[in-house]
């Protein structure tokens, strides 16, 4: 009993890992197609049908390019930087619930989530914040002034926006009362999506997510008009590829976190209706599994929308100036986030007793409404 379950979990981890890589790979293709669409161009269309093999061609190109070491660089740190950036990016998707549970006839229950820990959100935060070390180490080790500037910019920007991000998250935690991403999703499953309770918090979180992933309009660390290539100026071959890949994985993780925290994760409108209808005709087990699969499709639809949103913004908005970026982070988002916490707290205390969702949150055991008959 114990071993097969562990094997299943291993399989889920493998699947999550593979999907993360696949989505990151095809994000590069999607980025170019979206850019082409927004700029009224054709975009990549030569490699395979609709250019679908373009990411493979890019990968082959990156692998076969010359590995370059600048003469003044600190070799070990120069290699360590992209490795760290990529490793931390790949670790973060582990705690995201990509679906509810699948239940087999013999009662084996598999969570469609690599790792369920009670501090899921803190885990994402911790791992993603480590990513900036990859950029800093790589930029510093290159021994190039452009890289160094890109690296310190990345560091200052990441820490500044992490603050407001944490604050936005605290307001959400006050509503949910738990750090587990799975619990947060199940609460939204039974009540309203958190965006209804935290619209301001979501906007702050979203802006900070753009800054944390170094995407335009916050891509000053690699600002090509000022800093050539920013922190990866001296990088070539797959080391460069790992940096770019890590950015797309971070975009994927940020999208997944945003859909989970604020847009109901794997819950979708009408799921209770689907569940009840199918229960009557096909039995609870079948209904549960069908709703789970539909939920998984839903969360990926939400994630793809957010990834598209990241790209849409990138090809629409110009880049901030550095002082504007710092002013936005410290003197606007940070006070607004504190205000959001205070308003949220006051609202919960004032309306708390009347809100069914909050009543439900007081009794955590009621969040699991579905009890499936085993066997």
């Amino acid at each position: 009993m114990e071993i097969p379950l562990l094997a299943w979990q291993g399989l889920v981890i493998l699947a999550v890992f593979g999907i993360t890589l696949l989505i990151a790979t095809y994000s590069t293709y999607a980025e170019r197609v979206v850019a082409a669409f927004l700029q009224d161009r054709v975009g990549p269309d030569r490699a395979g049908p609709f250019g679908l093999l373009q990411p493979l061609a890019d990968a082959v190109k990156l692998f076969t390019k010359e590995e370059f070491f600048p003469s003044g660089a600190n070799r070990w740190l120069f290699v360590f930087g992209p490795c760290l950036a990529m490793t931390t990016a790949l670790m973060a998707s582990a705690v995201i619930p990509f679906g509810n549970t699948l239940i087999f006839g013999d009662g084996t229950e598999i969570r469609l989530q690599a790792i369920e820990v009670n501090i899921g959100m803190l885990y994402v935060f911790g791992v993603v914040s480590l990513g900036v070390y990859g950029i800093m180490i790589g930029g510093w080790a290159s021994n190039n002034k452009f890289s160094l500037l890109g690296a310190v910019r990345a560091a200052a920007q990441a820490v500044s926006y992490e603050l407001a991000m944490g604050m936005a998250l605290i307001a959400l935690l006050m509503v949910t009362g738990t750090l587990s991403l799975r619990e947060i999703t199940l609460q939204q499953y039974n009540g309203l999506w958190n965006i209804v309770y935290q619209p301001l918090g979501f906007i702050i979180f979203c802006v900070c997510a753009f800054a944390e992933t170094n995407r335009t309009p916050f891509d000053l660390p690699e600002c090509e008009t000022e800093l050539v290539g920013g922190y990866h100026t001296e990088y070539s071959s797959m080391k460069m590829g790992l940096y770019l890949f890590a950015e797309y994985i971070n975009v994927f993780v940020a999208s997944a976190v945003m859909s989970t925290l604020y847009f109901g994760g794997f819950s979708f409108p009408g799921e209770h209706w689907v569940y009840n209808t199918l229960t009557q005709s096909q039995g609870e087990l079948f209904a549960h599994n069908v709703v789970t699969i539909l939920g998984t499709v839903t969360i990926f639809a939400k994630i793809f929308f957010f990834i598209f949103f990241f790209m849409w913004v990138r090809w629409t908005l110009p880049r901030f100036r550095y002082d504007q970026l710092m002013r936005l982070g410290w003197t606007m988002l940070f006070p607004i986030a504190i205000l959001n916490i205070l308003v949220t707290g006051a609202c919960i205390l004032f309306f708390g007793a009347k809100d069914p969702k909050i009543e439900a949150a007081k009794k955590p055991q009621t969040t699991e409404t579905r009890t499936v008959v085993r066997g």
Binding site: T64, C83, E116, G166, M167, G177, S180, G241, Y322, D323
Partner: protein, 128 residues
């Protein structure tokens, strides 16, 4: 207090993280080794010097840079520690109730006083 609602969680829940870490490290090691073996290697003195827009590179990049970045980092440490204090409070917000809220108001008042001070000091001014 943070762990109060999580009686069913085991330390072994964290074990699969090691699997994920193993996979990530394997992927990174694979791509680094393969790109190291596959790519061509041709060196020359000019080519190996660091890039400075095509002109000859001057000096070393291990230079002092604007102290603003350092101040930002220090401020982050200060404020982030205070934000971390708020996580357990936020998770247990309902149990702590009005008392906890008033106490947090006091805490945030002190936090904002410090914030007002650094703004008045002009540490966050990047224009000059």
């Amino acid at each position: 207090m943070l762990l109060a609602t999580t009686a069913t969680y085991q330390p072994a829940d964290y074990l699969p993280i090691l699997i994920q870490l193993g996979l990530a490290l394997a992927f990174v090691a694979f791509s680094m080794v393969v790109s190291h073996l596959v790519g061509p290697k041709r060196h020359s003195k000019v080519k190996d010097s660091s890039f400075e827009c095509g002109i000859e590179s001057v000096g070393n990049a291990r230079t002092p840079i604007s102290v603003k970045y350092f101040l930002t980092a220090i401020l982050f440490v200060l404020f982030d520690v205070e934000v971390i204090f708020m996580y357990p409070w936020a998770v247990n917000f309902r149990e702590l109730g009005t008392t906890g809220f008033v106490e947090m108001l006091l805490f945030m008042g002190l936090l904002l006083a410090g914030f007002y001070y650094i703004i008045k000091k002009g540490i966050l001014k990047w224009q000059n």
